[in-house]
């Protein structure tokens, strides 16, 4: 199993400091707070959660687009976070990213040709003629044509722009792509086209995806394993089918039950959470979900639950599945 991991994330932390003026202490926001997971070669691993849970920050941090506070990200056995920056830059041909907003992620002053040429030029791949051929090929693969080469992004619709963004990410034949909400800014009728494209490219190029999304129906459709994040922490990880069939953590249960029905006659037993997501700068003590949890117990307010095996390849952090006494003693010893 271990050898099968393409990317391994260990104890990754990303804290932001917010200064509140000269004489006040700095506020620390734990956007990503000590998370670990691994992504296997060829799979699609999903990070799900609501806005502000740290899923996008995780994606950016593990590609070193922002600096991590602590932890390591091992890619093919090498820790990306401790490599010198020049090494990381050349490694980027293997690690790519697809962004959420197809309007913001393409330079408005560059033509499609220039946008797609850039990765090839930067990593010095192929001769000039081969580059042109490569660009034309990739455009056809993502469903555009050479007629578009000299156009600017503003001449395209959102879906077409996202195809360009995807073409830019796959043109270097990467092994690993972080897709940060790649379809959530698109029209419904175009979303399915882009999902199909991502699925097809994965097969064709043998890609591994980290798929960041808040849309559970898309996650259920196209991913292999899922990690659920809440306030900077992973609260549950499982194989996709298992997670949707048998969610263990109360937050995951609520999240899945909150998805709108797919047919008006469908009756769904819904766990409607009370209250809002707490401020990440001032998270609750103990289990960070206890303020909204319908099953909260006394222990949840004081002691943070650890991730525990709750099934085959299925872990969750919730006191419902731990022996409370042991945990308590454990905590006392450690404190």
């Amino acid at each position: 199993m271990e050898d099968n991991n393409l990317v391994e994330i260990k104890n990754l932390k990303k804290y932001y400091e917010i200064s509140r003026g000269l004489f006040k202490s700095k506020l620390i926001v734990k956007a990503v707070d000590d998370i670990s997971f691994s992504i296997r070669t060829g799979e699609t691993f999903a990070l799900v959660g609501e806005s502000g849970c740290g899923k996008s920050t995780t994606g950016k941090t593990l590609l070193r687009l922002t600096d991590a506070t602590a932890g390591e990200v091992k890619y093919k056995g090498e820790n990306i976070l401790s490599l010198p920056y020049d090494k990381v830059r050349s490694l980027r041909s293997e690690l790519q990213m697809v962004f959420q907003d197809p309007y913001a992620s393409l330079n408005p002053k560059m033509t499609i040709k220039q946008i797609l040429m850039e990765p090839l030029r930067v990593h010095n791949k192929f001769t000039p003629e081969e580059r042109m051929q490569k660009i034309v090929d990739i455009l056809e693969i993502v469903g555009l044509s050479k007629a578009h080469l000299n156009r600017y992004p503003s001449e395209f619709s959102g879906g077409q722009r996202q195809r360009i963004g995807i073409a830019r990410a796959v043109i270097l034949n990467p092994d690993f792509i972080v897709a940060d909400e790649p379809v959530s800014a698109l029209d419904v009728s175009v979303q399915s086209q882009v999902i199909n494209l991502l699925l097809r490219l994965q097969k064709e190029f043998g890609l591994t995806y980290l798929f960041i999304s808040h849309d559970l129906s898309v996650v259920e459709h196209m991913t292999d394993r899922v990690a659920v994040m809440y306030l900077g922490k992973i609260v549950e990880t499982a194989a996709t089918e298992e997670l949707f069939a048998d969610p263990k953590h109360p937050y995951t249960q609520a999240l899945i039950s909150a998805v709108p029905v797919s047919h008006p006659s469908e009756e769904r037993e819904r766990i409607v959470l009370t209250g809002d997501v707490p401020n990440p700068a001032n998270p609750p003590s103990g289990c960070s979900f206890h303020t909204r949890c319908p099953f909260a117990m006394d222990i949840c307010k004081t002691i943070e639950p650890k991730l525990k095996q709750v099934g085959n390849d299925h872990i969750a952090s919730c006191h419902l599945y731990t022996e409370h006494k042991e945990e308590k003693e454990d905590a006392i010893i450690h404190s």
Binding site: E50, S51, S157, G158, G159, Q160, D187, V188, S189, V190, Q191, S192, Q193, I195, N196, L199, R200, H214, L216, S217, V218, E220, H221, M222, T240, E241, A254, L255, S257, A258, V259, P260, V261, S262, H263, P264, S265, E266, R270, V272, L273, T274, D276, V277
Partner: protein, 325 residues
């Protein structure tokens, strides 16, 4: 026709843009019965928001005009209303909830000040009565500490709370019609579930009618009694909610439903509608959906189809023409 609250007939709007004029909606026809929740579903550029803004007389005067049709609210034609008449209508008989709760609240006024605005304008009340009415309505929408919240500013509240404030603002004068323009799109799923539940409950308590505009078919399935499907500025289908999901007639509706991940096998290729949503200036003769339609034939490109009805189920598609092709 006394049970019809809002009726829009053959509505056409023209926008002046830098490049010339475009018609964001053409020949829009539908009605809303008292006590019903009517969903208006469409993608960006379908004209669903333009339609709702027209009902409230909120289109920019300089750059847009109504080129055809009428809007009847309680049997009164309102498209010719003066500003003054519209002001009386807005907030009092018809209220609206917008997508982005942060930008629709004024950041420099407290929640209490914003909420007292419609009461000052439409109802004669003392200051005490007003405050009581505001606290009541805030409690109705599930806002804790209502007495303190009225002295707080919008930025002190979370997204979900702000949307609750917007809903309470819309409810203050007990309107007959509540227009909701993507009210949960900017919210997280767990918060969306809260807000949808609240809106259902409020609608029942107040016996209101609702015009619910969204792009999310799941939300429609949860909230609506009937649905109007819009595409590229036209209505393509109108049906009762179960009928629409069980027996969609228009190829666009069929395609939308078929492309939902939940209606496809896991990991399989999703059904998808080919092509892109047309821009307003790209729409010409014929059916606007023809270039993306898998069933399109010659007639579709030549002539815009009229509405064919099968009982209460309308669809604008030549395939529905009774005598066939």
């Amino acid at each position: 026709m006394t049970d019809v609250l809002l009726e829009i007939k053959n509505l056409g709007i023209e926008f002046k843009t830098g490049e010339g004029t475009v018609q964001p909606i053409r020949g829009v026809d539908f009605f809303l019965k008292k006590g019903e929740t009517l969903g208006v579903v469409g993608e960006s550029g379908s004209g669903k928001s333009v339609t709702s803004l027209t009902v409230l007389g909120l289109l920019p005067e300089k750059t847009s005009k109504i080129v055809s049709g009428s809007i009847h609210f309680e049997d009164e034609e309102i498209t010719h209303y003066s500003d003054r008449q519209y002001r009386k209508l807005r907030g009092n008989d018809i209220s609206m909830i917008f997508q982005e709760p942060m930008t629709s609240l004024n950041p420099v006024f407290t929640i209490g000040e914003q909420l007292s605005e419609p009461l000052k304008r439409h109802k004669k009340m003392s200051k005490k009565q007003r405050e009581k009415a505001i606290v009541d309505v805030l409690k109705q929408v599930g806002i804790p500490r209502a007495e303190q919240i009225i002295d707080e500013y919008p930025h002190q509240l979370s997204g979900g709370m702000r949307q609750r404030v917007m809903i309470s603002l819309a409810l203050l004068c007990e309107p007959k019609l509540l227009i909701c323009d993507e009210p949960t799109t900017a919210l997280d799923v767990t918060i969306q579930a809260q807000i949808l539940k609240l809106m259902k409950q409020v609608k029942q308590d107040k016996d209101m009618s609702m015009l619910f505009i969204t792009h999310d078919l799941g939300v429609v399935a949860e909230m609506c009694d009937r649905v109007v499907v819009m595409y590229a500025g036209e209505i393509v289908e109108v049906a009762e909610i179960n009928e629409l999901f069980d027996n969609p007639l228009h190829p666009y509706t069929k395609g939308l439903l078929a492309s939902l991940p939940t209606n496809n096998d896991r990991k399989s290729k999703l059904y998808s509608i080919k092509g892109q949503v047309p821009r307003p200036n790209e729409i010409g003769e014929g059916c606007a959906f023809a270039n993306r339609c898998p069933f399109a034939f010659d007639k579709c490109y030549a002539k815009t189809p009229p509405a064919f009805s099968e009982g209460d189920h309308l669809s604008k598609c030549w395939l529905q023409q009774p005598e066939g092709r």
